[in-house]
Subunit: 258 residues, 2 copies
DNA sequence: GATGGCCTTCCGATGAGTGGAAAGTCCACT
DNA sequence: AGTGGACTTTCCACTCATCGGAAGGCCATC
């Protein structure tokens, strides 16, 4: 790791020390992980704490503070979307009793902004705030298939990390899957991240009808998904309508007249 | 507004320009609002964008980026808590069909981390990420009543902002309310923020049995809350149990033997 | 008492950061 | 088409915010 020269870069490096595996850290850990001198770390961390980006526990450890949560709530792709989508996610959960997820696209990654998990459902590797590459996740494929052509091309041309033997890793395979997603209107990702799970995802459209997010369910790999696809697509359509998507307002009859 | 000298302070000032009223801004707005020179703003904003704290739209406006959302998800008082609390919040919503809210305490403020709102329920002023003073909100009172004595004293001694004629503004009134909350195990905030609404809130305990959050419902002021208190307290107890609170695991019989 | 880990404070040297100025872009108006 | 204003981007001499080594303090362990 090369230590940034700029203060901004150093602040970001310190914030990036925190992760799911390390939700809290003491000053020396931060100093070592960020590659910054102890006193430098001390000063910068104190500024982060004063502002609320970090909080310090009674035991002297630091964790992410609520100030970032407040700011994050303003991000267009996160909590605002989640709030409007929540009723439909809950419906989908009630109908399927499987893990339900909502994600947005950030470059070539899907970022999970909501998850409703079932106690007895298959374990899901994602959690809120985590990311997976678009090529390997149901929601990622559902969003990528309708993204701008240059984004799709970039995805096709970029190296695709392999998680399991089933993960898509070739341009040809990805193109084919994207074409199928566009034709079908939903994506199936079978065993791409974990061999034991399968996800069904559908794109969610915003007020200009562009795809802005995706909703998915994650089920054990041996479940027949045919009966789940309509539910996922219904939820996606409902969320799209809540977001003001023109195409989600048209009734079937009007759609047929196009 | 006095412009901070430090880079960190300047970055925070720029981030603080964003609010619910201003979810996006262009470079000149940021420069004016932060009191920083245009070129300084330009440089700092570019660093924020590179890191993902801000994103830039096609129209050149900046909004909060997903990177903060990812970090925020690691905050102990936010999305992790929300996720465990969600089933109980949903139960409470199904039972009452009123606005349900989950909040944590940050100093003398309640920060709202979840909200399930009803279409036909009374309008609620809070949204996810927003804050209200503890003395004036149901959840705030529920958490303050069980906070460390020095926190309670600080609240009692601090100026209490008045929102309506019903808002608690005197130390004596606050002490009395806090004592009642401790005795009753729940808080009622009647018309303290808005005259037309009333909230019932109950404290949520974490794994060391300290109060770490609170859940509330918000109803029109003319609703009889007596029937709602048990539902709110049940939800709080359920969430406490999900968080591993020892006191929420005891059955009534064992409780009676203490 | 000695040691080690962690944290906090201090301060002279310096290079990261500043912001005014210039240039470029876009758009509405005349 | 020309103009003016708003907005954005780039440049660079100067300076002061930042740095990190050093010192000191605290606490737990041996």
């Amino acid at each position: 790791m090369t230590t940034p020269k700029s203060v901004a870069g150093r602040l970001f490096t310190l914030l990036s020390v925190f992760s799911e595996q390390r939700p809290s850290a003491n000053l020396s850990e931060l100093s070592r992980s960020a590659g910054l001198a102890l006193s430098t770390t001390h000063r910068l961390v104190n500024e982060l704490v004063e502002w609320g980006a970090l909080d310090r526990d009674d035991d002297g450890r630091y964790h992410v503070g609520l100030r970032l949560f407040e700011l994050a709530a303003l991000s267009p792709g996160s909590l605002g979307l989640r709030e409007r989508a929540l009723p439909f996610l809950e419906d989908l959960y009630e109908v399927t009793h499987q893990n339900v997820q909502l994600a947005v696209r950030d470059g070539l990654e899907a970022v999970y902004v909501e998850r409703i998990s079932a106690h007895n459902a298959v374990n899901v590797v994602t959690r809120i705030g985590s990311r997976l590459p678009v090529h390997a996740s149901g929601v990622g494929l559902a969003m990528l298939a309708f993204a701008a052509p240059e984004v799709q091309e970039l995805a096709v041309r970029s190296p695709m990390r392999r998680f399991t033997p089933k993960t898509i890793t070739t341009p040809a395979a990805l193109r084919e899957v994207l074409a199928r997603v566009r034709r079908d209107g939903y994506a199936i990702s079978d065993g791409q991240i974990e061999l034991i799970t399968l996800s069904v995802a559908a794109p969610i459209r915003g007020e200009d009808d562009s795809v802005v997010a995706a909703v998915s369910i994650v089920v054990p790999q041996d479940v027949d998904v045919a009966g789940l696809v309509p539910a996922v697509r219904t939820a996606a359509r409902g969320i799209s309508r809540a977001l003001g998507a023109p195409s989600a307002v048209r009734s079937p009859e009007r759609g047929a007249s196009d």
